[in-house]
Symmetry: C2
Subunit: 138 residues, 2 copies
DNA sequence: ATCCAGAATTGGATCTTGTCCAAAACCGAA
DNA sequence: TTCGGTTTTGGACAAGATCCAATTCTGGAT
């Protein structure tokens, strides 16, 4: 059983067949699927699973902190199971590919105290944009 | 006439009444309105302007590099006329307020060469999240 | 001043993403 | 086995955005 499923069971989550296949699709640390992609992949494993259940399950996983929502453009949100290791994203502007990259130093540190305007800051998202090797001008 | 309108005219843009009021609404460097907010404000100045024209005009301004699109959440995109000075955003998770903040050092520098995976990197977006003074736990 | 072709605008249809809801199915404790 | 709470489901609904064919506008040519 995957780490993810194990942690969920430890939290008293009822492990239904539907939740199991959603977790299974997300398993592996380097995917960034949309909800509809996850639904399509889940249907391969459990043909009768509904779109609503996929959205419900993803919402619960996000609330539990097991999955991150990533909005790299104004399109569909992507769901990132790599919630345990802080990381940032490198996005191809042409094909939308997303890669995980890892911070050098604390990105929060780059915001000077004089630029906080009384906010209580809880996090920072960094998205690098460019062209991937496949899409770059050959 | 605003700087923005002047630059647009210099580029040979046809300055219609509709485009003028959209530019007028965006004038001033610290706004981050949604397309519908811009439409509502534009209607005050030119009652018959359509939503489609607001979207068309915003799209053109973005193509020209005069306005930036900002997607801070999965909701409506926001349009940022402050495209001439590199800056980052500080977003309140409770009320959605956006403030401009200014980088200390080049945020691009924080991505190690070993983490570029053959991408040609063209830019970076940094979004700090937290609670604004109004929304913070009093 | 008038005409005309290309540019711009318009309202509504359409699409995508996501949420909501009431009914049905499921599950596990008693 | 029964029963109440939990989960799932399909379809309705909503927001944001795009598309499109019809119309209006515009500025240069005459
Ligand atoms: Mn990731
Ligand atoms: Mn800004
Ligand atoms: Zn690419
Ligand atoms: Zn706030």
């Amino acid at each position: 059983m995957s780490d993810l499923l194990e942690r969920l069971r430890d939290r008293g989550w009822r492990l239904t067949a539907q939740r199991r296949v959603v977790a299974q699709v997300l398993d592996g640390d380097h995917v960034h699927y949309t909800a509809d992609e996850i639904h399509a992949l889940a249907v391969n494993l459990l043909p009768e699973i509904s779109r609503a259940t996929v959205y419900n399950t993803l919402g619960e996983l996000v609330s539990l902190g097991e999955v991150l929502e990533v909005s790299t453009d104004g399109r569909a949100k992507r769901y990132d199971p790599n919630a345990r290791h802080a990381h940032q994203h490198l996005v191809c502007d042409a094909c939308g590919t997303i890669r995980d990259v890892h911070p050098a130093g604390d990105p929060l540190g780059s915001l000077p105290a004089t630029e906080r305007y009384g906010f209580t800051i809880s996090g920072v998202e960094v998205t690098y944009r460019g062209l991937c090797p496949d899409c770059g001008t050959a």
